[in-house]
Amino acid sequence: MPDTDVIVEMRHITKRFPGIVANDDISLQIHTGEIFAFAGENGAGKSTLMSMLFGMYQPDEGEIWVRGKRVDISSPNEAVALGISMVHQHFKLVRNYTVAENIVLGIEPVTRLLGLIPYVNMRPVNKAVRELSERYGLEVDPTSVIEDLPVSTQQRVEILKMLYREAEILIFDEPTAMLTPQEISYLLDIIRKLREDGKTIILITHKLEEIKQVADRCAILNHGKLIATMDVATSSTRDMASKMVGREVIFEIDKTPARPGPVVLEVSDLTVENEHGVDVTQDVSFQIHAGEIFAIAGVAGSGQVELADAVAGLSPVKTGAVLLEGRDITRMLVRPRTLKGVSYIPEDRQDVGLILDFLLEDNLASKSYFKAPFSQHSILHKDAFDAYADDLIRRYDIRCSSGALTLTRSMSGGNQQKAIVAREVEQDARLMIFVQPTRGLDIGAILAIRRRMIEERDKGRAILLVSLELDEILAVADTIGVMFAGRMLKVAPADQMTREEVGEYMMGVKHA
């Protein structure tokens, strides 16, 4: 294609965050009127790259060219002025406004009543929105209120918002993450229509199926690097999947083969629904033995976190059963589960795992404060808290400015995680659940936590690991279960599955 067709060009873009390179020397060209997809695992750097095009971040190195001119996009407003718009994964709509009101927010047409009193005249807006909606087959009523609309319609409102502002380059960040299959195919139709109308579409997704269906070209990112730019028509999804999971240098961790004992956790036909009444896991069954690390692989939102929450007692079970060492704990409260031997390192360490406004010693004891020696006859013994915290700080190398009395909020993320790990390991639990335990940590902390998991396994505990990082799963798992769209597609010993195989199940390309 001739160069005049290039609408967006990125040259040697590098973006660093503390401790991590999110985008590493990425150069690519996007042509006018094509659907260009970015594929990659979570954290591969897709969203960061597009956030720079949309002005939310600035590149540390490299240049962005739009329509043949070098640009510095320092805010989303400047991006919009360049005709670039983005539909975020989480919509930015005012819930109690109408569709049309949301669309004109910030650029309201003001008319003066009797030439004096300014007011927003919605009539022409409603008409314009209705016309746009009909033209692209979006089926949105401009006068309905956002909070009455389902998620898929809200997304179409976001699309209308971009169209109303006459955007030429439309970025979709994981647009199908919250949609049902029917809604997805409808959305893909809309995207095709937009292309026919001459718009340039950038699609960020980790679902290869969708890329195969609509995209013209696809860039594959892995750990911040651009692995390949491929023509979708001539590439297979299998090929794309293997590039996507990549072959990274894995730090070797000494790991002896597992010596599994009796079954500790048995989950049978577990179905969990979220607060919207949607089943987020469906009939999931598996077993974990003592001395075994069972890792659940899957792309974000496959139901693995909800599964872990349900096993820990944080969310109710719809149907099915959870058995801990043969005892039914399906309907048990959180506290008795903790006492029966379930420890849990949750995904959201700052909002669930810790009370940030508490002192470190109060957080370290938050699962044992109610029993001796911390508490006797309902009275707390601060000496016991101090001594226990000092001990854990030393043994787990938790760095904190004022020892046991440090305000947890003031600690770094890695040390907050160390505190959680310390507390949960000390529970001496039969079953330990780790959800995304190394997310956002540096390499030293990552290795320490992975080694810890294996150590605890060797002590005969059953370990359930949920991770979005295939590297992590391959490094520590004895058994791998792959979840896709709420179902457990495959359970197999780790040494019987290749990285590519796991990747294919994760993407839903392969079925058992």
């Binding site: 965050f17 503390p18 401790g19 390179v21 999110a22 695992e41 979570n42 954290g43 960061t48 994964q89 993450a177 919250m178 750990h223 240098v249 979220n274 919207h276 974000a300 976190v305 944080l314 409260l333 959180v334 506290r335 589960r337 903790t338 849990y344 959201d348 909002d351 669930v352 810790l354 009370i355 406004d357 508490f358 109060d362 938050s366 404060y369 109610f370 309902s378 009275i379 707390l380 601060k382 190398d397 760095r399 400015s401 305000l407 003031s410 770094s412 993320g413 890695g414 040390n415 907050q416 997310r439 956002g440 940590l441 540096d442 390499i443 030293g444 902390a445 990552i446 990082e469 590297d471």
Partner: protein, 439 residues
Amino acid sequence: MSEQKRRNTSSVILREVAESSLDPATGTQDDREETGQSEPLQIQMNWFLRAFSNERWQFISIPLLSILVSLIAISIMLGIMGSNPFNVFITFLQGAGWIMRPVYAGGYGQLSDLSNTLTAFTPMLFAALAVTIAFRGGLFNIGISGQMLISGFLASVIVGYSGLSAFVAKPLVLLIGMAAGAAVGGLIGFLKYRFNINEVVASIMLNYILQYAVSYFIKIHFLDQISRQSRVVSQASMLVLSDTKVGGVYVSIPLCFILALLVAVALQFFLKKTRLGYEIKAVGANRRAAQYSGIRVRRTILVTMMLSGALAGLAGVSYYLGYFNSIEPGALTSLGFDSIATALLGNAHPLGAIASSFLITTLDTGGTYMQSMMGVRQEIAQLVTGMILLFSACSAFFRWRIALSRQKAEMRAREAAASGGPGGCGPEVEVSVQGGDVQ
């Protein structure tokens, strides 16, 4: 939806990091917006920031700042109106009995004024403690006035109009007050527990219900035809020994004054040193984390509201059967609302509430004397109290503003460090922004 909490996360490029010189223990990255700081920074802060940004002392420094700012504002206002602000403040203290007046009427003395202040102090402290415990549990009990009213009313009806002797009557009044308050607080807590009804809405609505229900019963059954208030309760049931002669002057001895101070200390102990106190604070600080650690969140909310209601009940009986001896039908006391600001001024801390209650009641009781001495209008005295309460309610804003200035100072320091400026020997700085205060 928990999905929305989940941020896109970044994995680590092993090669890159292995080559970098990051300290494995501190160089971490959590959220992109909030960069974990691994290097010590030399931060230029002026004396003001230095004094007020230390979080360890903010529990006392922020209320003092609120008071200071309000005193300055009041002084300017009084100056414009032609009064000497210093004299005004002195007369407040004289009126409240903290310092001697030049002249006293026969049979009265400094002790009379002081005892009057302490009598007013007692219900204020109880009420502020009621607000405090709810705050700490993450709840906003705006229905203190209603809970006070029903407690005072039931205690008056059951004990105040009976012929019980003082030894039976006084403890019974306290018990009934606590029970009635706890019942109303518990009802609000139950509505939240069972139906997830917002406690602010429930307590405001209950205020109206209680106000008119009590008014109805007083008007029908217990009205004094001359005063148009409820009938005066018996001396035996009163929590104050009125018009007692001590050292030749009339004083009214507030029997619950010591009790109120003890309850404040006990509440501090309760919050700091007991299991239930730990649970209440955990639920108040982060409900999801509290649930995760095995605390039964909704039950704790119910218990917190009952305790708050019981304290409001103590405020009610020490107000209607102490500071007053009858109930005006159809009115809620403003003390119940002032106590919210008083608790805020005390930084939602039981011992802080003691100090702030002293301040507010001093202004309240000293106001009358101040008016007559300074020749200013009655409204001015109330304006002074109002301004202190207004600024105390701004403490969250002060805290936020200080955190913001500090962050800016830190950004400047970081930029200076990045451009090769001085840095590297200061203490490690913790960044935290507190967007808002208790709800």
